[in-house]
């Protein structure tokens, strides 16, 4: 972090912020699903079972954004895509927002009826596990600012490492929900496990040396071409 950890008011800081292409894509891409749903609401685009459609759509969006957020650190450590580090926080926050909307629709679906909700959340394992993931994601999103990072010190990292647990929980949440064809949750699960493995130091070392070799080769090739 090269910027000093001084509290500056957002509007004072605004002119200094430069958005990269990747950041713009991430922010627009994260808003798009919500805009599509709102547009669908006005144009008869939410199927005849709108609650189910909204539930599935927001849940799927939350999983995808969470996986993208998880991919940021390995994208930097394994492939040297440094830009990704800046995308990690917005992606994670957007994932938490969609998870919260998803949960809100679930509450609405059960008419905010405490008995029905209790039964739905605590007696059905897929709902319980999704609820657990939300309980992990929300405090992470709320403490994702620099201020909280400073305030929590070492504990901040410990707290935010739980994102991998959340990733695994949402995949299981999804897998326990589908009827029989578990291809989609299997794909998501495979990605989360792969990303988790990418954090293993040995894997990172191998990737770093491979990247070194590739870079070396590329620079040699360049010389040959120029020569």
């Amino acid at each position: 972090m090269d910027r000093p950890l001084v509290h500056i008011r957002a509007w004072e800081r605004l002119p200094e912020i430069k958005f990269s292409a990747a950041q713009i894509i991430i922010h627009l891409g994260s808003w798009a699903p919500l805009l599509i749903l709102i547009y669908g609401g006005f144009t008869n685009g939410l199927t005849v079972n709108p609650i189910q459609h909204l539930t599935f759509y927001t849940g799927d969006t939350a999983i995808r954004l969470l996986i993208l957020s998880l991919a940021c650190t390995p994208a930097n450590t394994l492939f040297g895509f440094r830009e990704a580090i800046k995308l990690r926080r917005p992606l994670g926050v957007y994932a938490a927002i969609y998870a919260a909307i998803h949960f809100g629709i679930f509450l609405f679906d059960y008419g905010f009826d405490p008995n029905l909700l209790y039964e739905a959340i605590f007696e059905k394992r897929y709902a319980l596990i999704g609820f657990a993931a939300l309980i992990i994601l929300l405090p992470m999103a709320l403490t994702s600012t620099k201020g909280w990072q400073k305030r929590l010190g070492q504990n901040w990292k410990r707290l935010h490492q739980f994102v991998y647990l959340a990733g695994l929980l949402v995949v299981i949440h999804y897998a326990w929900l589908v009827k029989s064809d578990i291809r989609a949750p299997l794909i998501y699960g495979g990605i989360v496990v792969a990303l988790l493995m990418a954090r293993i130091p040995a894997v990172r070392r191998i990737a770093a040396s491979a990247r070194g070799r590739v870079a070396h080769k590329l620079s040699n090739t360049g010389k040959e071409v120029r020569g």
């Binding site: 609401g41 939410l46 079972n49 739905a120 029989s180």
Partner: protein
């Protein structure tokens, strides 16, 4: 649940369905943080002129419980038909050109008079309208005015022998026209079964039409089963083969997950699917859940079939 978006039976038009949805989304957009408001949403506002689908008709606007029919375009536009696709809204366009004529249904097994019926023969059975609730195991439901005839009429004609205990139904296997059948997740063709006395119950019908018109392909044309007190997957579509047998048939869903889908699959709010509750359902067109009725509201007509039977045993004994 205090409120529900009941559509007055006098105003069954697709537009009202859109309006309730639109109202819902509007109120959700305004009050993202307090979606409770949406639950108290306004009554459907007046709509622009409606254009109902051509030539459709039904003898009543509601079922016997007073709940409105699900609009024709919804019944024919939102379908669970894995032979085509798992996307409910894509079934209709994908099934559009599915050939349903000529069509034969071979009836055999433990019967005195095995016979292969042409579809034209089957339409000679007196066709009558039955307005039934359809409750999907996924916890949504519709009210549909079917046209068809009791299964018992066909069975009486082929005369099951005294050894016959069950009826096994099979759907067409045509992967070149039904791309979903290329999926290795299920054992095609779709197979379902009923106990002989269940099949003989007057509520159990072969449907050949809906809303006074021949069945469209996406709803199981040209002939399907409808057993309204059981979850929707029991109501097998596009039947080509019927056999009377002495052992309990294994359905496609039992083969796929016998711990989750039993042979009987009676609608029962007290017996949950192992992974989700069956206590409530979403009636398509309403935004609030409503309680699920035992045997989908047909308890009186079918209770004698299940004396001494506990639906809880369904998924435990079928494996």
């Amino acid at each position: 649940m205090s409120t529900s978006f009941r559509i007055p039976s006098s105003e069954i038009t697709p537009e009202h369905l859109y309006l309730t949805r639109r109202d819902f989304i509007k109120s959700m957009g305004i009050a993202a943080g307090s979606m409770a408001l949406a639950a108290c949403g306004a009554a459907p506002s007046t709509s622009t002129a409606s254009t109902p689908a051509p030539n459709i008709n039904a003898s009543a606007a509601t079922d016997e419980l007073g709940d409105p029919l699900t609009p024709h375009e919804v019944v024919t536009g939102y379908n669970n038909y894995y032979e085509f696709t798992t996307d409910k809204e894509d079934v209709a366009p994908m099934a559009k050109d599915f050939p349903t004529s000529p069509w034969e249904v071979a009836v055999g097994g433990l019967v005195k008079n095995p016979k292969t019926y042409m579809m034209e023969d089957l339409l000679k059975f007196e066709q009558e309208e039955r307005i039934y609730r359809l409750r999907c195991v996924e916890a949504w439901s519709m009210v549909i005015p079917w046209v068809g005839f009791p299964i018992s009429k066909l069975l009486n004609e082929v005369e099951p022998t005294s050894d016959a205990k069950f009826v096994r139904f099979q759907s067409i296997y045509a992967p070149e026209k039904m791309p979903g059948q290329l999926s290795g997740w299920y054992e095609w063709p779709y197979t379902e079964g009923l106990r002989l006395d269940e099949a003989m119950n007057d509520l159990a019908i072969f449907a050949t039409g809906l809303y006074g018109k021949p069945l469209p392909p996406q709803d199981g044309a040209p002939i399907r089963v409808v057993v309204p007190w059981k979850y929707g997957f029991k109501s097998i579509k596009a039947i080509v083969k019927i056999d009377l047998v002495d052992v309990k048939p294994t359905s496609l869903w039992m083969a796929a997950a016998s711990n989750e889908y039993g042979f009987y699959a009676n609608v029962n709010p007290d017996v949950d699917h192992p992974r989700w509750s069956q206590a409530t359902e979403r009636r398509i067109g309403e935004l609030s859940r409503r309680p699920t009725l035992k045997y989908n509201g047909y308890e009186e007509q079918v209770a004698d079939l299940y004396v001494g039977w506990d639906d809880r045993l369904d998924t435990k004994t079928s494996s």
